[in-house]
C-alpha cells in the first residue's frame, strides 16, 4: 500500500489527485492538503472582476467531492518538509497546520510514500510597497475574493463616471519581475468593453503598464504567429488590438511602490516615474512559499529542495541568455535529492526566465518571470501522477512519462470582452512554450502554424466552453478524464 500526499488543490494538485485516484486501487491512499476549502477555476476570475460572473460560478467545495471519490482531504497548509522523517517518525513527512475550525493552529505530521508539491505561487504583494488588494485603489484578480473586490471598486467607479467623473484606469504588472501578463491583458480588454457597455468609455483613459520590453512578450520572449494568411509578431498583434481599443501603454516598467491612486515605477531607461489612477489592477510578483526543509537530525536542508520554488530535474547552471537551451527545462518534475518528491505546475523552480533578462540603466532587473499557465500546470501534474502510478504498479521507479515545456504546446484563449454576441477573444497558441531555437531557428524557436493568433467572437465562446468543460472535469463528473488537460 502506498500513500501519496498532494499539497495544494489548484489546477496541478487537483489534476494529480484525480488521476491518481482514478488509476490506483483502493488499497492506496491519496490525500490532498490545501488551505482553501474550495476549488476555483482561476482563469474565469477576470469575469468575476468585471461583474459578469459570480464567484460562486467559478468555485465548488472540495470536501464533499473528495469524500465521494475516496480522496483524503486535510484543510491545512504545509509548513515544513521532512523528507527523511525524524527521530520519532521513520517515514518522510510534511508538517502541516490546520487553518479552520476547532483544530485551527494545530500542527500535524502527514507522512507519505510519494509527495506532490502543487502549491503554486505565493502571491507576493509585499514585494511591492503599498500593493495590497483592495487598498490604495489597487486591486487584483488572482483569487475569487480579490476579483470580487476588484468588481466592487470598478462598479463604484463606473457609477462615478456615469455622474461625470473622468477616470484613469491602470492595468498590468505590479512588480519588476511579475509574470502572468496574459491575465492582466484579458482583464484590461474586458474592462474596456464593460466601460463601453455601461456607456462611459469616453470618460476613461485606460493604460497598460508592464515589465515587458515589448507588448505581447507575455514572459515568453514574444512570438512569431500565423495570423490569417500572414505571419505577425505578437507585439504587432497587441499593438493593433490596443490601438483599436484606444488603450495606451507603458513598457519596461518595474512598479516599486503604490500610494493612494499613484503607481511609482522605474523604467528600463533608468527613469523614476509615476502614474496616477482611479482604479488599478496590478498582478503581484509570484514567489515560492518560503518553505523550509529538514533532514532526520533536524538539520536544515532547504537548499536541497528549494530555490525559491521547488528544485526539480532542470539544469540550474547559471549561464548567459545566449547559452540558454530548451534542454535546461525539466521533463519529469522530480526532485533530484529525494526521488519521491515532485513539483508540477507553478511550484517548480524554472531554470531561468524565458524572456530575455534586461536591466535598467540603474541595474534594476526589469523583465517578466516565466509563466506556467493552466495547461502546462495540468499536463505536468498528469505526467507526475502517471509516473507515480507506474512506479507503484510496477514496484520500481518509472519516469517513462516526460513533458518539457520545450516540447509542449499551450493555448492562451484570452477573453477580450464578455457577451454571447458582443464578446471577443484573442486566441493564441504557442508550440513549444519554451522556444527551441535549434529545431525552429528561423521562426523565433517556435513552429509556425501551431503558433497562431485569432481575434473574434469565437475566442470568447471557446473561453466560455473551456470554463464549463474544466469545471465539469474538476468535479470529476462521468468521463471527466476524456477532457484533456
Amino acid at each position: 500500500m502506498s500513500k501519496i500526499v498532494v499539497l495544494g488543490a489548484g489546477i496541478s494538485g487537483h489534476v494529480a489527485a484525480s488521476h491518481l485516484r482514478r488509476k490506483l486501487g483502493k488499497e492506496h491512499e491519496v490525500v490532498v492538503v490545501s488551505p482553501n476549502s474550495n476549488y476555483q477555476w482561476i482563469p474565469s476570475n477576470i469575469w468575476v472582476g468585471i461583474g459578469r460572473m459570480k464567484s460562486q460560478q467559478i468555485l465548488f467545495p472540495l470536501k464533499p467531492l473528495y469524500k465521494k471519490k475516496n480522496i483524503g482531504f486535510i484543510q491545512a497548509k504545509a509548513m515544513s518538509f521532512h523528507p527523511e522523517g525524524d527521530a520519532t517518525e521513520t517515514k518522510p513527512y510534511v508538517m502541516v497546520e490546520y487553518v479552520t475550525g476547532s483544530e485551527k493552529g494545530k500542527q500535524e505530521k502527514v507522512s507519505y510514500d510519494y509527495l506532490i508539491n502543487g502549491t503554486g505561487p505565493k502571491l507576493n504583494f509585499e514585494a511591492t510597497e503599498g500593493l495590497k488588494p483592495g487598498t490604495n485603489k489597487a486591486y487584483s484578480v488572482c483569487t475569487y475574493t480579490h476579483a470580487d473586490e476588484a468588481w466592487g471598486g470598478l462598479k463604484a467607479l463606473i457609477e462615478e463616471m456615469k455622474n461625470g467623473k473622468k477616470a484613469k484606469i491602470l492595468i498590468g504588472t505590479g512588480h519588476a519581475k511579475a509574470t502572468c501578463q496574459g491575465a492582466a491583458f484579458e482583464y484590461i480588454l474586458n474592462v474596456e468593453q464593460e466601460l463601453r457597455r455601461h456607456k462611459v468609455r469616453d470618460m476613461a483613459e485606460i493604460t497598460w503598464i508592464s515589465n515587458e520590453y515589448q507588448l505581447g512578450d507575455f514572459g515568453m520572449d514574444g512570438m512569431l504567429l500565423s495570423y490569417g494568411k500572414k505571419s505577425m509578431e505578437s507585439n504587432e498583434m497587441l499593438e493593433m488590438i490596443f490601438k483599436d481599443r484606444g488603450i495606451k501603454w507603458i513598457l519596461g516598467a518595474g512598479v516599486t511602490k503604490i500610494e493612494d491612486g499613484e503607481a511609482h515605477y522605474e523604467n528600463l531607461e533608468g527613469e523614476y516615474k509615476s502614474e496616477k489612477y482611479d482604479f488599478a489592477m496590478l498582478i503581484p510578483s509570484f514567489s515560492g512559499h518560503g518553505f523550509k526543509a529538514y533532514d532526520k537530525n533536524q538539520e536544515e536542508i532547504t537548499e536541497k529542495l528549494f530555490k525559491g520554488f521547488m528544485i526539480v530535474d532542470a539544469d540550474y547552471t547559471a549561464k548567459p541568455y545566449e547559452e540558454w537551451s530548451v534542454k535546461d527545462w525539466p521533463e519529469t518534475y522530480q526532485n533530484p535529492s529525494y526521488p519521491n518528491i515532485f513539483a508540477p505546475g507553478i511550484a517548480f523552480a524554472p531554470p531561468h526566465s524565458i524572456s530575455k533578462p534586461r536591466k535598467s540603466t540603474n541595474g534594476t532587473e526589469i523583465f517578466p518571470a516565466p509563466p506556467r499557465t493552466g495547461m502546462p500546470s495540468g499536463i505536468t501534474a498528469k505526467i507526475v501522477a502517471d509516473n507515480i502510478i507506474d512506479s507503484i504498479k510496477g514496484n520500481k521507479t518509472s519516469l517513462k512519462h516526460k513533458g518539457s515545456m520545450g516540447n509542449m504546446g499551450a493555448a492562451c484563449i484570452a477573453s477580450a470582452g464578455y457577451g454571447t454576441f458582443s464578446g471577443s477573444g484573442v486566441s493564441i497558441t504557442t508550440y513549444p512554450i519554451v522556444p527551441d531555437y535549434e529545431k525552429y531557428p528561423d521562426t523565433h524557436g517556435r513552429q509556425l502554424g501551431k503558433t497562431f493568433g485569432e481575434i473574434g467572437l469565437a475566442g470568447h465562446w471557446l473561453k466560455l466552453a473551456l470554463h464549463y468543460a474544466f469545471i465539469y472535469k474538476a468535479k470529476m463528473k462521468p468521463f471527466w478524464w476524456l477532457i484533456p488537460e
Partner: protein
C-alpha cells in the same frame, strides 16, 4: 518597427459575425485540441 496594422472594417465584420464565428469556433476548438492532445515529451533525447 513596421507601421501598426489596423483592424479593417471587413476584418471587424468577420470577427463579429456569429455565423462566420461559429465555423471559426469549430476550427479553433479542433486546432487547440490538436495542439494540446498532440502530445508532449522530453527534449534531452
Amino acid at each position: 518597427m513596421s507601421e501598426t496594422a489596423k483592424i479593417s472594417g471587413f476584418q471587424r465584420f468577420v470577427m463579429r459575425n456569429p455565423i462566420i464565428q461559429f465555423f471559426k469556433f469549430i476550427i479553433l476548438s479542433l486546432k487547440v485540441l490538436i495542439i494540446v492532445a498532440g502530445g508532449h515529451g522530453g527534449t534531452r533525447g
